[in-house]
């Protein structure tokens, strides 16, 4: 097991979050484009919670507050020819790939211009090689099938699959890993280990570690504890290339934190725990470390998103013809 820059995850659960004051590592300065993307995801998610609060959204949605940096770091490493399988907490994954907040918001609100005409909603999105669906674990075998196709095409493309720590409860994950390893398929498993599944802490749902679960199938595993986009990107780039060249699977485990609720208003973690987690949030830390750039872009992105919300909200309802 390789560890990128930072502490090791404890078996099963995560270590208790470090209090804000500690702010262990300074986040490096990001290119404007990266910071903009990070902020776009952040303000997209905040807008959703706000819309829910104002009774303008129905159904449910899962925001990725606190985890935005994962897809942003991966963005240049995963190309257009690659497939991405996302999950219920997928807005960041989508925005990092398509930079299309209006299309996604329209999907969530069921308005004209919705990526999937409002049929799929927040967690069922298909666009080019990007797919999400709402049943945990179900897409891992599917990704293996896509990887089999890609391997045969022989152009070094891969199938990346995002899953959470809780999703390792599903048997489908293991059936898929076994075949990916047996058949040497270019599957890149991206684990967002945020220490919780809905309301259940990882130590109450996972025995052993994700590293050992990869090892069980002879699959390489890489632990990422950094929240720094530049650091993560630099360290993962050669690993992802290796997946392309060898056509073999890799599990990357991101130790991360869910800053917001599971969906909306359903966070049962203690105020202290939440405060500690907020102290680790890249958003606050980056604001402190790089105030000038942050304030300039944060304001701009807020305004952009506010415009998107206004514009999409004013659209007529989506239409669905191809049932």
């Amino acid at each position: 097991m390789d560890v990128i820059s930072g502490w090791r995850a404890a078996p099963g659960g995560l270590p208790a979050p470090t209090p804000a004051a500690a702010d262990p590592t300074e986040l490096s300065a990001l290119a404007d484009a990266d910071l903009e993307l990070l902020l776009t995801i952040r303000h997209f998610e905040l807008s959703l919670l706000d819309l829910f609060g104002r009774g303008q959204l129905n159904g449910t949605t899962h925001t990725c507050l606190g985890q935005e940096y994962v897809p942003v770091a991966l963005r240049p490493l995963i190309g257009e020819g690659d497939h991405i399988f996302s999950n219920h907490r997928g807005h960041g994954h989508y925005l990092a790939r398509f930079a299309d907040p209006a299309g996604l918001l329209a999907e969530i609100m069921g308005r004209q211009g919705a990526v999937c005409h409002g049929v799929g909603g927040s967690q069922h999105i298909l666009r080019d090689g990007y797919l999400s669906t709402g049943v945990q674990g179900e897409s891992l075998p599917v990704a293996v099938g896509v990887a089999l196709h890609l391997k045969r095409a022989g152009q070094g493309r891969l199938a990346a699959v995002y899953i959470g720590d809780g999703t390792w409860g599903e048997g489908a994950v293991y059936e898929a890993l076994n075949v990916a390893a047996l058949w040497n398929l270019p599957v890149l498993v991206l684990v967002e280990h945020n220490g919780i599944a809905q309301s259940t802490a990882t130590e109450h749902q996972m025995a052993g570690t994700i590293a050992d679960r990869a090892a069980a199938f002879g699959i390489r595993h890489r632990l990422v504890t950094s929240t720094d986009v530049n650091v993560i990107r630099a360290e993962l780039a050669p690993r992802v290339t290796e997946v392309r060249l060898t056509g073999r699977p890799l599990v990357v485990e991101f130790v991360t934190r869910r800053v917001g609720p599971h969906s909306k208003g359903d966070d049962t973690r203690s105020p202290e725990e939440l405060r500690a987690i907020e102290g680790q949030d890249w958003y606050r830390r980056y604001a402190r470390h790089h105030p000038a750039q942050f304030q300039r872009l944060d304001l701009a992105v807020r305004e952009q998103l506010a415009d998107v919300v206004r514009e999409v909200t004013a659209r007529p309802l989506s239409t669905w013809t191809e049932a």
């Binding site: 159904g59 409002g118 599944a197 989506s318």
Partner: protein, 334 residues
């Protein structure tokens, strides 16, 4: 009292009374108390028997079957009925089969309960009505929550059967109120018929006057009642409504006299078209009442489609009160 509170009381009461009863499911322990809060408070009183599990629907159903096999009783909460798909093998090939495939009766006291249905904007994988897929499994009984049936009685009945049961719970119904004392409102009265009072009978006036009979599981009982009420107020046409607690095996006998009298039957359900529960009940009725029916049993169900997320699209697919009203209004016989 809201239906989910009645359910919650039932679960807690049963746990209090029976030290061999377990409750398993994802995120069911306090303070969260389950995605729909049905289990709130249960784990605090019985931390050793109310267990939050990993996300392993198939596995936990198997674990519950193991408890049942060992002589305990178990209730499993599957967070969304859609995920019964992941328990299909454990329910159909293990728990149900074990009751008879070993040549003698093996009691399996196991209930799998799950929220079902749409109109909540949860999207195609969180809005289904999977009842139909489980109809006709030997030794598997299907129940559905209703606003008439006290859940304590229903769960006792299910656990006492000695056969696995699935309890389907409409998500919208959770937040609606339980009916009590024989009255739905100023217009509609109800009582119970059948063994164990298994089926609620709701009517405007004298049941013998009803020009048609509606059979509807609990999930759509309220939209049916609303449609029946409107039809009566608008045209003074009277329907008799049956709301069974047990969907399968379905006990038609207590309903026969009134079906025969009316000669017109409508079955309403939320499941999408094709191979529905209603088609199976219709088959029973056609066999038994062929000469008495004025027309074939009419089925009202959702379109043959995935359940879309956006509310305006979802309404277009799922049975609505207006769909039911239209179906009840159509008078002409075949």
């Amino acid at each position: 009292m809201r239906v989910v509170e009645n359910l919650n009381q039932a679960l807690r009461g049963l746990l209090d009374e029976d030290p061999s009863l377990f409750l398993l499911g994802e995120d069911i322990v306090d303070p969260y108390g389950g995605a729909f809060k049905a289990t709130r408070g249960a784990s605090t009183r019985h931390p050793d028997r109310v267990l939050a599990t990993p996300i392993s629907e198939g596995g936990i159903t198997g674990i519950a079957a193991g408890l049942a096999l060992a002589g305990d009783r178990a209730i499993v909460e599957i967070m969304f009925g859609d995920f019964l798909a992941l328990c299909f093998d454990q329910i159909v090939n293990f728990a149900s089969k074990s009751v008879t495939m070993y040549g003698r009766r093996v009691p399996m006291r196991l209930v799998v309960r799950c929220p079902v249905g749409g109109n909540r904007g949860y999207g195609p994988t969180h809005s289904q009505s999977p009842q139909k897929h489980f109809v006709g499994v030997p030794n598997l009984a299907l129940f559905e929550m209703t606003p008439f049936h006290d859940n304590t009685a229903t769960f006792s009945r299910m656990l006492d059967r000695g056969e696995p049961c699935i309890h389907f719970e409409d998500k919208i119904l959770y937040t609606q109120r339980m009916y009590r004392g024989g009255r739905v409102d100023g217009l509609l009265r109800y009582d119970f018929v059948g063994a164990d009072g298994g089926t609620a009978r709701v009517r405007v006036e004298d049941p013998d006057e009803a020009e048609q009979v509606v059979i509807v599981p609990g999930g759509l009982a309220n939209p049916v009642l609303a449609a029946v009420r409107s039809l009566f107020l608008a045209e003074e046409r009277s329907c008799l409504v049956y709301v069974p607690s047990q969907l399968y095996p379905f006990d038609l006998d207590p309903l026969l006299p009134s079906l025969r009298r009316a000669g017109r039957v409508v079955i309403v359900e939320e499941g999408t078209a094709g191979g529905t529960w209603g088609a199976d009940v219709a088959q029973l009725i056609h066999q038994k009442l062929w000469r008495d029916l004025r027309r074939p049993v009419r089925l009202v169900h959702s379109a043959p489609s995935v359940v879309p997320t956006a509310p305006h699209l979802e309404r277009g697919v799922l049975v609505q009160e207006s769909t039911i009203y239209q179906a009840l209004r159509e008078t002409e016989d075949a």
